[in-house]
Symmetry: C2
Subunit: 435 residues, 2 copies
Amino acid sequence: MADIIQPRVLKGFRDFLPQAEMERATLIEALTATFRSFGFVPIDTPALEYAEILLGKAGGETEKQVYRFNDKGGRDVALRFDLTVPLARFMAEHVGELYLPFKRYHLAKVWRGENTQRGRYREFMQCDFDIVGADTASADFDILATIAAAMKALGVPSASINVNHRGVFNRFLAKAGIADKSVEALRIVDKLSKIGADETRRQLAELAGENAADEVLEFIRGGESFAATLERMTTIAGGPNPDSDRLGEIFAMADACGLASSIKLSPSITRGLDYYTGVVFETFIDEIPEIGSVCSGGRYNDLASLYTKQRLPGVGASVGLDRLLAALEAIGKATKPAGYTRVLVVNTEATLGAEYQGAGAALRAAGLACEVFPETKKTGQQYAYAEQKGARFALLQGLEEKARGVWLLRNLAERTNIEYSSLPAVIVAVLESDQ
Amino acid sequence: MADIIQPRVLKGFRDFLPQAEMERATLIEALTATFRSFGFVPIDTPALEYAEILLGKAGGETEKQVYRFNDKGGRDVALRFDLTVPLARFMAEHVGELYLPFKRYHLAKVWRGENTQRGRYREFMQCDFDIVGADTASADFDILATIAAAMKALGVPSASINVNHRGVFNRFLAKAGIADKSVEALRIVDKLSKIGADETRRQLAELAGENAADEVLEFIRGGESFAATLERMTTIAGGPNPDSDRLGEIFAMADACGLASSIKLSPSITRGLDYYTGVVFETFIDEIPEIGSVCSGGRYNDLASLYTKQRLPGVGASVGLDRLLAALEAIGKATKPAGYTRVLVVNTEATLGAEYQGAGAALRAAGLACEVFPETKKTGQQYAYAEQKGARFALLQGLEEKARGVWLLRNLAERTNIEYSSLPAVIVAVLESDQ
């Protein structure tokens, strides 16, 4: 035998064992069902694209992290590092084949050569949903309502969707005479929850002077109701304007949908990316806000300008799956199925293999997930296996039971066997055990 | 504005637009439900692995096709080209954390730099399911029964799972005195359905002489019942042996599960790969066998010998998703949802945005997938959008209806509107329309 190759994965990459993968599958199924209930439809794009297309808009940091190489045909290619750039390319290429507004979700892996010392993964699943082709409060609100519905579907008792509008903030900065420093000011404010009010004030003062710093801090002060905060922000920013009206419309929709307590106006949220032009938002699970936003996004006024002259405004959000899973685990709401098996047919007699398989087929035909243990082993080992797979019942037939035409149904938790005269009787008993 | 970058994907790569992606999602959901009903659990592995690990066993052809490069840390890495090698590495690495027999399914993308002129894709989704750690007829049969259940779940009216056993074939070759030419003989026989009996005979005669060619052709002759074929094969191969007994056991299980007409003994099936050591099988949809096998696989006696000294026998199958989708389309069994939306809330009055969103929330709370058209547009355009998304109903409220507190529910196919006095009444009407 040749030397053994040490089995291992690359740093920053992960295997998902069944327990973790089932947990992830359950989460994805809940998110997918929520997206579909709002009329979002799925798309998929290639993992590998022309580097020119993926990196057209990207800055230095992104370029450093991307997996890029020449393929065997000499093409300069790269693995996608997010799902936003592929969506932009997709929309530019296919807009004529699609109906607008276009509501899509996309769950897929992306790759970034992140520094793994910071606990980052180099391969992770991204989950994005967007509405492209409509610039309205209703589209903005759709995204927020979808987030709220997703949190509810996942069993999160209470979540806060913190919303702001870039436009209102920019109007305020213009009125305060620091419009030319808006990008830097936005970046400083965006770090408020991380660096604290004092450090934020210090950095703002350094950027724009003491007075401007105080004005900014007054503007971003939160903690009041949506309506009160909106009124204060609007006044400080110079009075009602289309952007503050947009926020008002969104709040009226939230109120009409019973979401007034979840959707909060938070003038300090700005999102770091220059990309956003309208509403921006972050989502916190109230029991564990310190884990950070589990779903963030905002409005952009031109998605695909790199690839088409057609203007495509949109609004969308991205779910941080790894963080969301960690948060659900922390608050005890993670669904961790041990397996999908309801009944294990125990294999004690080599000569009864066909009977066991026939029983398995009969149970499955009745809608019961069922597996036949594939070899004769001690029943204790088979019971242990059944419990590992999450089965509640074991079905047994030895030669003596076979001669009498009966089956034993074992409740694995209670360690009790009940004899049934037929498989239909077994099926009824298992189905009734759920009620 | 800078120059536009031409939006395009790499040759051999594909975008999936919603129609195609929903069709694929429906197929994957049916397969996943089937796997789970047999107790298979999901895993996932990285798309990118050490090239040494992925290519350890691969021959020249595979190596030529793989996407391989040096990452920024100088590691020699490659994109996975199948899900079998990653499973082998996974089992070697994690066997201590798993329970055996280990039944897993894995649906994921793989990449091969295939010649696209042959209609091959360079990125495609693979779907594998395997049972590792048991070498029994019951495990072999589990895979075959899962294939049969999957075909049924997909609405395939009639499918043939053609089974053979490498061991019986090898015993026959030994008896015919051409054991040393078994690999070549297997490869020639494997092409029977493609090259025809005459050419098969010619190639076999060239390899092993006229007499041996005739013997092989007699051995692989099919068309009889499982039992009759098994008896003939067993006799020609020198009498009963553990491998022919295995086939007999499998047939008894098929008979007990009502699958005797689907699982056929087909002595000409050998599968090209040296990898298989026991049963091998291919699955044909009877209405369109010419499209080729939609699900193939077999038994291997040592999955992970490259990465561990622990012997891990297994049996498994791979579904050809692209081919299966094409076959389902050809026989009119493809499920092509236009969308998931049941009701579109039509947006005709800018001042009623909150009412429309409130209605959408109420319908979704009753379990009805519902979207609110996000901007005011002509109703004709909104109806057209609703039909594109597969919605059967549109819900309308103008200022006049708002004043009276009523809603109009439009049946889009019948082009009729019915007035309802409340949203609960609308919900009941939509729910009843399904019955």
